[in-house]
């Protein structure tokens, strides 16, 4: 396996010397996401396999090319899970999961990918084989490069290995459904999040609010008693559909926007259809509305808008950064990838 690291490293050095862009590719499941896909493919899915997993440590270490399904099956056998519920969108790998930084329905309650990344092994733009963080929960030695890499879309380096914190599966789970307007649902999701309830996911679409409770049986039962609502039968399929964007809402020909906002932001007055997750903090919008209007609405909500899926991405995928932040982004890019070869244009057109 170490041969592959040498092989990738040589390919990177070669590309850097010739200033030829590389398009880092794991499972290719998220090719739709982000800006341009420029450069020669650097296939890294071959470096795969679980390296170390001891359930009592609550940590799993695996190679970047390991299919997420393999990791999840291993964890499930030991009664554990990736609590950030990453979407797969196809044949996802661990490396791609971390690089894209996408988290699923449990995110508002359990945390995001970056919250669970404890350590990474990375090939930077010089082809150097680097290790940051580790396999322990608490580690403040050196800058937190592991978390910086999460969500950087492969623009800073190739993730060859990662260690993640894992959590026990919930002993009990149930999903309650309520008929609520968008405004009512936003108010309720925020009010409930302010109480000690075992809520693990929320979703509002149309006039239906779905709330998943996960935890000890006693807690789930008590919370159900407090909240009321109608228990639904095929809940696992529903949450899976939300996580993988397989629900009808996501089968749209309109551009799909992802608005990450303050959870209490009132219903957005934008054309198109909406689906709300994360206790109100994530709003999916299928809309042909003017991108400027959508981005302005996101800013007003204390957040940002991403053009998540679209044929035409000329409006830019990610919300533009302030000049001061963009300067630091460029400097960081330069620090990790001085020849500018990794995934140019995937995150921002500038680099």
């Amino acid at each position: 396996m170490q041969d592959l690291i040498h092989e990738y490293s040589a390919a990177i050095r070669n590309a850097a010397a010739r200033k030829v862009p590389l398009r880092v590719c794991g499972g290719g499941s998220k090719d739709f996401y982000g800006g341009s896909l420029a450069g020669d493919k650097l296939e890294v899915a071959g470096y795969r396999g679980i390296i170390d997993y001891e359930p009592a440590e609550l940590v799993i270490s695996a190679r970047g090319g390991t299919p997420l399904t393999e990791i999840e099956a291993t964890l499930r056998d030991a009664g554990q899970m990736l609590a950030f519920e990453p979407p797969h969108f196809g044949s996802a790998t661990l490396g791609g999961c971390i690089a894209s930084g996408l988290s699923g329905p449990r995110r508002a309650h359990a945390g995001a990918v970056r919250d669970f990344v404890l350590g990474i092994r990375l090939l930077d733009g010089r082809g150097d084989d680097l290790r940051f963080g580790g396999r322990v929960m608490k580690n403040v030695a050196g800058f937190d490069v592991s978390r910086l890499i999460a969500g950087s879309l492969g623009t800073l380096g190739v993730i060859t290995e990662a260690s993640l914190k894992v959590l026990p599966l919930s002993a009990a789970e149930t999903t309650l459904r309520f008929e609520k307007s968008t405004a009512e649902a936003i108010a309720l999701m925020n009010a409930w999040a302010g109480r000690a309830l075992p809520i693990s996911a929320t979703c509002h679409h149309g006039n239906l609010l779905s709330v998943r409770l996960s935890g000890a049986a006693a807690a789930v039962h008590a919370a159900h008693q407090q909240l009321g609502g109608e228990e639904i039968a095929d809940a696992a399929a529903f949450w899976e559909g939300l996580r993988e964007h397989a629900l009808d809402f996501f089968r749209t020909s309109q551009p799909l926007w992802r608005l990450s906002l303050k959870s209490t932001t009132p219903p957005l007055e934008l054309s198109g259809t909406q689906l709300i997750e994360w206790g109100g903090a994530l709003r999916w919008l299928a809309s042909d509305a003017n991108p400027q209007t959508i981005r302005a609405a996101a800013s007003a909500g204390g957040g940002h808008a991403t053009l998540f899926r679209a044929d035409n991405k000329s409006a830019g995928v990610f919300q533009p950064l302030s000049p001061a932040l963009m300067k630091i982004h460029r400097e960081l890019k330069q620090a990790f990838d001085p020849a500018g070869i990794f995934n140019p244009g995937r995150l921002y057109p500038d680099f």
């Binding site: 554990q80 508002a108 999460a150 969500g151 302010g194 075992p198 006693a218 204390g302 957040g303 932040l325």
Partner: protein, 492 residues
């Protein structure tokens, strides 16, 4: 460490530039006035700062930074000065930037469960301010009465409840900061993520090397309906370590899971009268919180597991007073160390939980070897060790012996697959141990990240990340053939 002397001419120039906009009470430079700033919580290291600036507005912070950038003056930011790694140790050629006056809570948003606070607000003051809404700020470092949220972000502070509720990095959503050039940065936002690189995570735990943080938006959590504590005594420390593993393996993530050894128990008991069993080799304190029925169920499971793993005695708190009493001893451990010994040296290594028993055995052997007592207090649930090495600085050679003892523990932590610091930071204290944890290429990356924010290396230089020269002099650099590529890197 050699103490730097202060160059009077330089001092006058810097004071002159700062006095143009800072009122006289916000600018200290007389020896007796700057003396209180000569050290932080790690008092073994001290150094008088050339100048202390105590700004009251963010505009003043910005102007101070601009002046320092232009004049090439190093800047060390300081909150309450409770840090345990010397991160706020001043420089004799620098400005100590005290942010103690930024104590305002700017906004509390109960429905969104966030609070926007200035960097000098004390950790516990946040929870106090939001208590009426049934909310609290989760990270609870033991210094939470005094430490500031700005310092917590700089160190990525943890505490007793981070196994379940996370570290500072998991509990903040936004920052306002200034670069050394005085450029304002708005990082994160009101949502759960932000576009671009995760600078919020990068700045958290960056020990004042990248930017000066002036404002933080923290996440607030609902106060659990109930918390209950279980105390288990063990005749053997290793057995207590195994019980910790068994609890986690059973799928329980307790709100807190702490271990104290016999020396600690005997030191704290006369101090707090918590009723700890003095004959135990170790005790575990384990807390369950959440909904009423959930806590009852979890405590019952914990009792079964602790019993099955050889606990000689199990006590369950029957009311809030008993719970608070059970924790009082743990919270007083550092204070007790100061009572039973003239000085103590607190370590902060983190190791995989499975290595706990062997680490305890190794520490006992080192204690014999160095002839110094060591109290063991652990955040057992996440493998974060706080061995307190007891020594007497007035006895020649004891500080050096304590430091050597501590360094041996850090080396063992690295060997066990862990880290030299779980929550206290590297600061000046563990700067040489960094040479053992990281190789030259990783240190090179850290230096480049630093340069991306602070090209002239003026923010807290000399802390957190050792220069390669320093590591070479220290003689423990993991240098492999062909990997020493950054000989020309500037020092910071």
């Amino acid at each position: 460490m050699a103490v730097q002397s202060i160059e009077i001419k330089r001092q006058h120039a810097v004071v002159g530039a700062l006095a143009a906009f800072l009122p006289s009470h916000a600018l200290l430079y007389e020896r007796e006035d700057v003396r209180p700033y000569e050290c932080d919580g790690l008092s073994a290291y001290h150094q008088l700062p050339m100048v202390v600036a105590l700004p009251e507005t963010t505009e003043q912070v910005q102007r101070i930074l601009r002046v320092c950038f232009e004049l090439g003056v190093p800047v060390v930011a300081r909150g309450a000065g409770t840090g345990l790694s010397g991160g706020a140790l001043p420089r004799g050629d620098g400005v100590l930037l005290s942010l103690a006056k930024f104590t305002r809570i700017l906004d509390i948003d109960p429905p969104a469960r966030t609070a926007r606070v200035q960097c000098g607000v004390r950790n516990l003051a946040i929870s106090d301010a939001v208590a009426a809404h049934g909310l609290y700020y989760a990270p609870d470092p033991s210094s939470q009465i005094a430490c500031t949220i700005g310092g917590n972000v700089a160190e990525n502070a943890g505490g007793m409840h981070c196994l379940k509720y996370g570290l500072t990095v998991h509990n903040i959503v936004g920052l306002q900061a200034f670069t050394i050039e005085g450029e304002p940065l708005a990082i994160g936002g009101a949502g759960l993520d932000a576009p671009g690189y995760d600078l919020l995570a990068l700045l958290t735990g960056s020990e004042g090397l990248l930017a000066v943080i002036t404002e933080i938006t923290v996440k607030l959590l609902p106060r659990p309906s109930r918390a209950q504590c279980i105390l288990a005594a063990f005749d053997d420390v290793a057995q207590a370590g195994q019980a910790v593993t068994a609890i986690i393996a059973a799928g329980i993530v307790p709100a807190a899971l702490e271990l104290m050894d016999r020396l600690t128990i005997s030191a704290v008991e006369p101090f707090v009268n918590a009723g700890y069993p003095l004959d135990a080799a170790a005790i575990l304190l384990c807390e369950a919180d959440g909904m009423d029925a959930e806590v009852t169920a979890e405590i019952a499971r914990l009792e079964t597991i602790l019993d099955a793993n050889g606990a000689s005695e199990i006590r369950i708190s029957q009311n809030e007073a008993e719970r608070v009493r059970a924790w009082a001893g743990r919270k007083a451990a550092f204070g007790a160390a100061g009572r039973v010994s003239p000085d103590y040296y607190c370590m902060d290594g983190t190791i995989p939980k499975k290595a706990l028993p062997q680490m305890l055995t190794a520490i006992a052997a080192l204690s014999q070897q160095y002839g110094l007592r060591c109290m063991n207090v652990f955040h057992a649930g996440d493998g974060n060790l706080h061995p307190l090495i007891l020594y007497d600085a007035n006895r020649p050679g004891q500080l050096e012996q304590a430091e050597r003892f501590g360094h041996d523990i850090l080396r063992l932590s690295i060997k066990a697959g862990g880290t030299i610091t779980g929550e206290h930071g590297v600061g000046i204290e563990k700067i040489d141990a960094m040479c053992e944890q990281f190789r030259a290429p990783e240190l090179g990356t850290f230096h480049r990240i630093k340069a991306a924010f602070d090209p002239r290396a003026l923010l807290n230089p000399g802390k957190a990340v050792p220069t390669l020269q320093r590591c070479a002099e220290f003689g423990r650099m993991h240098v492999h053939a062909g990997q020493e590529k950054f000989p020309a890197l500037s020092r910071f």
